[in-house]
């Protein structure tokens, strides 16, 4: 099972395992990682599962679709590595991926 490291805004780390094919959002909510609201359940409708992908993992995490990009664009905490975690499916290649959580979800 690939593992994911979520780092809260205050620095608290959560290293959890996830199923291949599950989104990082599902991996977070299934393991009670705080800071991911995921109100819409993974439909790219709400932008409450915003994460900031660690530089080293950006290429492997893929790129945001147009609609994901639009949701992120007006997020006040948006950084160049921002993604919606519901749009990143976990793969073997992403084993060990590190993502930061923003202070707030909008």
């Amino acid at each position: 099972m690939p593992s994911v490291k979520f780092i809260e805004h205050d620095g608290t780390e959560h290293v959890v395992d996830g199923n291949i094919g599950d989104s990082l959002m599902i991996v977070a909510t299934s393991n009670l990682v705080p800071g991911i609201d995921a109100d819409c359940g993974g439909e790219c409708s709400c932008a409450t599962c915003h994460v900031i992908v660690d530089d080293a993992w950006m290429d492997r995490a893929g790129s945001a679709s147009d609609s994901e990009e639009s949701m992120l664009d007006l997020n006040p905490d948006r950084g160049s590595n921002s993604r919606l975690s519901c749009q990143i499916p976990l793969t073997e290649e992403l084993d060990g991926i590190v993502v930061q959580l923003p202070e707030f979800q909008y």
Partner: protein, 403 residues
Amino acid sequence: MTAMVIIGAGQAAGQTAASLRQGGYKDEIVILGDEAHPPYQRPPLSKQYLSGEHGLERVYLRPEKFYADQSIDLRTGVTVSSINRTQKTVMLDDSQIIHYDKLLIATGSRPRKLNIEGSDLKGIHYLRTIADVDGIREAMKSAKSVCIVGGGYIGLEVASVAVVAGLEVNVLEMEDRILQRVTTSRMSEFYHSLHSNRGVKIHVNTACSGFSGVDGKVAEVICGASAINADLVIVGIGIIPNVELARDAGIDCGNGILVNDHCQTSDPDIYAAGDCTNHPNPILNRRLRLESVPNAMDQARTAAANMLGGDKIYAAVPWFWSDQYELKLQMVGFSMDGETEVLRGDKDTNQFAVFYLHEGAVVAVDAVNSPREFMVAKQLYGKQVNAADLSNPEFELKSLVGK
């Protein structure tokens, strides 16, 4: 050992249990649900679950094993018959008694039913649960002509799935336009022509007065003097909040279970969250009963924090979404709160947003395939804006938000 008991197993219930654990609560959590499933998401039921795009596991709020992993006592298929506030217990219909220290009522809502001639015929469905949709999906396999009673979001989402699946689709709407209860005539017109262009026949000013059947199965929907052929009927005419358990226990109810801004009912040890509640919204400055997932999730987080002795207030601008065909409609606030409509984008491209202003401040948006406008409206709520800027496609919305 203390016990947190949750009546209901919908999204508010599931999120409350998760938030209690996230909040560090280690003792007993019991979820009492009358359906066969762990807490699941209802929005996909009339969309991706109906179309077959999503399976069950994708609809579940969290994987089934989550509850065991977190020592949450999830009991499905059980019915609560009463709450005893003096003893601080709930009784199940098999007379089993469960003690609570804090109780959350998350009983949700149920579809409003038709009670007219023929309304008990086979082939007439309502849409609220996984079991309901399983029944509709099975019926759609052999159906040729589906009639949807009610032109609200649920009905229109079902219409879009059914017409794409190749069925003949009629939609009956009592009012003079679809979505009359929830949006403006401009949006109603847009969705009316969208559906008409895809082959859905919409009949406004048309009330369903009864059904006729053959061999106990529906064959026609009767609308006064005329009739429409239908071998499958889906009724979506609104919901009724499930307040009975609370009301029978002497908890204050109005249009919904009355809660304060802490999601607390008139009994301080009993909280309520989700569709069943009637709550104050300090931003909109009025009480609301919402049929919405973000409301259920936010109230759940608020209730959980306060059940653990916190002091968290629920104050959020309501938002909603609806998927029809390849169009994603995202809404913030209530369009009827504004007296000025500002269009941004071009309706003919199926990508546009309508901002609603009250005395110059943004109070709502309807955004079609326009996530930027949706995100900006969430942050601009209540703020003064220049209408000319909003309607100018060259104007950078980004300049209106940020820290």
